[in-house]
Amino acid sequence: MADNKMLIKFFVASESIFFIMLILAYVNFKGTVVDGPTAESSLNPYVTGIFSLFLLASSFTIWLAGKSLRAKNHTMMKVWLLVTIVLGAIFIFGQGREWAGLIEQNITISRNVFGTTFFTLTGFHGFHVCVGLIMLSILLGLALFGDFKGPRSDGVEVISIYWHFVDGVWIVVYSVIYVWAFFL
């Protein structure tokens, strides 16, 4: 067997650098805005914070899915996968809502450096969440057709490592954008 888990771990390490660069760009321009919107003037840390909790919870539910897999509890695994997908989708819905609100106020990627760095960073993260959702849906579909009877499955384990990573990135992103602007 090729070592899928090792592959995904190095992949995630490589992706971290990608996100670190986006975060560096955000940090580099933070506080340089001379006119136009900033994080402080345009974001709502509480609403986004609540939607973030859904994403955090999904990390927990995918862990439960993995646990059910190891316990060969096929039904519960499917349930937890479904819950994970729903939680992730709620997060993406929240992000869509936030973006729509900003764009309505004419805060866009081309407005100023805040817009540029904010939309790029959250956009790339959201893109990763969507990719994760697609992969989770494929997993769920396969499970409904009877795959993943346990106790082990590289597919489930690899995607859950990826999902934890996407979650972890969000904690950093939320801290850098929201916590830094409002709670420090």
Binding site: M1, A2, D3, N4, M6, L7, F10, F11, A13, S14, E15, I17, F18, F19, M21, L22, A25, N28, F29, T32, V33, V34, I109, S110, N112, V113, G115, T116, T117, F119, T120, F124
Partner: protein, 557 residues
């Protein structure tokens, strides 16, 4: 994932050919590491010819002062495409490709850990290359902002054409490909070694590929994110790198060189690996100081991450910053020097056989040291301030890239061609190729040191008739023509030897690493039986059971 099953239909002919088997499909659908490796080599050869023609056009334009052969606009496109092609579509994919071919054989594996990912990597390079070259067909022409695409030159108001967009998209595709090969190599080397092949016994080439792969997976994302930002700037009017809208042009420079400097080690470490395989075999001695070669490579890999701003001395980052980057850059000369000493010490007292691979390997040491010396010189801030953006820089990086990477590539092709095809390359043509290269290369680039010191800027399409400038540029152009001839001889050699070369047998050079235990060319499944590995030179141990390299090694089955 069932890597023990044959992944492609068993070839009836030793070397797959377009007409037999399933024709084109056998190539396009292949996930065999050897076939993919060969495809890499063929594609890089095509790009090498294209990039070389671009260079020749530039050299003709520069052959005399105030010459009107090509327009300034086209000249800008030529040097941009030439630099981009040579780096991203010649040296990188060659080294990755030869690694894909050799690594599984050298560690006694059946294939790469992820054969389909391997195929994806290859096709993404092809795709990226096509994307970039397609820009020539657009109305506005190819990118023209130089291979490091400094902002604001690469940004909308200054580059209204689509060239830079194609450029960034194409390189993004190749970047994804490089990360994928890096990941694939790492997992392959860490998990698929045959029993007994410990990390202290893998061939040095494999070590170099491993360190390079780590650089790839940690450094390519830097530029991938910068490309993404540049594309957002160009397509959605984001403002990352546009100073007029609050962005920062210097940020691009940091991001680019944060990738760009480690990149030059991506271009040279596998080349070091080739040299470290060739020199011992043709000196008939084991490598001197294996641990030092491997260890110094790790040191180079780590150091290379912290020296990027030596490309930015002229920016005015401040004395302290410049001082740090200057000293850190000079530090890299130490582990690099260690390797040179290792190679020389390996040759010392050996029974040296100057076959073509060894000729190129020996010349590599000399030319690379030459480029290394000018490199340490320009790591010194005051010297760099004088010669930056002049032909001195052009001379420097061609000594390390051509005299370094390309010489190693030629050494590698002559060395492994018998394994790839089952036939030897012609030694006579090889010697012609070698000497024409030596003459052409030094003639083209040595005078450029003087031109640079005399003040000739790089990236200019013509120059005034200052004393000696015309004659030195003419020398350089004649050298480039000789160099072009040498490449023709090389291609002719590949062409005739592939069909009519002397039969090679499994181990024509009497070498010691595992790839030489496989048939030439290797069967689809590589080995019927992997020889036992009890030391760094398994085939030596096999041939000389009475004096093995590691007499006390435990036997593993």
């Amino acid at each position: 994932m069932s890597r023990r099953l044959p992944l492609v239909p068993e070839n009836t002919e030793p070397l797959p050919s377009l007409k037999e088997n399933q024709g084109m499909l056998a190539w396009v659908s292949s996930v065999d590491h050897k076939q993919i490796g060969l495809m890499y080599l063929m594609v890089t050869m095509v790009f090498f010819v294209v990039g070389g023609l671009e260079a020749l056009l530039m050299r003709i334009q520069l052959s005399q002062p105030e010459f009107n052969f090509i327009s300034p606009e086209v000249y800008n496109q030529l040097f941009t495409m030439h630099g981009t092609t040579m780096i991203f579509f010649v040296v990188m994919p060659f080294l990755i490709g030869v690694g894909v071919y050799l690594v599984p054989l050298m560690i006694g594996a059946r294939d790469m850990a992820f054969p389909r990912l391997n195929a994806l990597s290859f096709w993404l390079v092809v795709f990226g290359g096509i994307l970039i070259y397609y820009s020539f067909l657009t109305q506005s022409g190819a990118p023209d902002m130089g291979w490091f695409a400094y902002s604001p030159l690469s940004e909308k108001p200054f580059s209204l054409n689509k060239g830079p967009t194609y450029w960034a998209l194409g390189l993004l595709a190749t970047g994804i490909s490089s990360v994928a090969s890096g990941l694939n190599n790492i997992v392959t080397i860490l998990t698929m070694r045959t029993p007994g092949m410990t990390m202290r016994r893998i061939p040095l080439f494999v070590w170099m590929i491993l360190v390079t792969s780590f650089l790839l997976i940690f450094v390519i994302p830097i530029i991938a994110s910068a490309f993404a930002m540049m594309l957002l700037d160009r397509l959605l009017e984001a403002t990352f790198f546009t100073p007029a809208h609050g962005g920062s042009a210097i940020l691009w420079q940091h991001f680019f060189w944060g990738f760009g400097h480690p990149e030059v080690y991506i271009l040279i470490l596998p080349a070091f690996g080739i040299i470290s395989e060739v020199i011992p075999v043709f000196s008939r001695k084991p490598i001197f100081g294996y641990e030092f070669v491997a260890g110094s490579t790790v040191a180079i890999g780590l150091l290379s991450l912290g020296v990027w701003a030596h490309h930015m001395f002229a920016v005015g980052l401040g004395d302290v910053t410049n001082l740090y980057f200057s000293l850190a850059s000079m530090l890299i000369a130490i582990p690099t020097g260690v390797k040179v000493l290792n190679w020389v010490a390996t040759m010392w007292g050996g029974k040296i056989i100057f076959a073509t691979p060894m000729l190129f390997a020996t010349a590599f040491i000399i030319e690379f040291v030459m480029g290394g010396i000018t490199g340490v010189a320009i790591a010194s801030v005051p010297i760099d301030w004088v010669v930056t953006d002049s032909y001195f820089i052009v001379a420097h990086f061609h000594y390390v890239l051509y005299g370094g990477s390309m010489f190693a590539i030629f050494a590698g092709v002559y060395y492994w061609f018998p394994k790839f095809t089952g036939r030897m390359m012609s030694e006579t043509l090889g010697k012609w190729h070698f000497w024409l290269t030596i003459i052409g290369f030094n003639m083209t680039f040595f005078v450029q040191h003087f031109l640079g010191v005399m003040g000739m800027p790089r990236r200019i399409y013509t120059y005034q008739d200052f004393p000696y400038w015309g004659s030195m540029n003419l020398i350089s152009t004649i050298g480039a023509v000789v160099l072009a001839l040498s490449v023709l001889v090389f291609m002719w050699n590949v062409h005739v030897s592939r069909k009519r070369g002397k039969k090679a047998g499994n181990n024509p050079w009497d070498a010691w690493t595992l790839e030489w235990a496989a048939a030439s060319p290797p069967a689809v499944h590589n080995f019927d039986l992997v020889p036992p590995v009890r030391g760094r030179r398994p085939l030596w141990d096999l041939a000389h059971p009475e004096q093995p390299d590691e007499p006390n090694a435990k036997v593993v089955d």
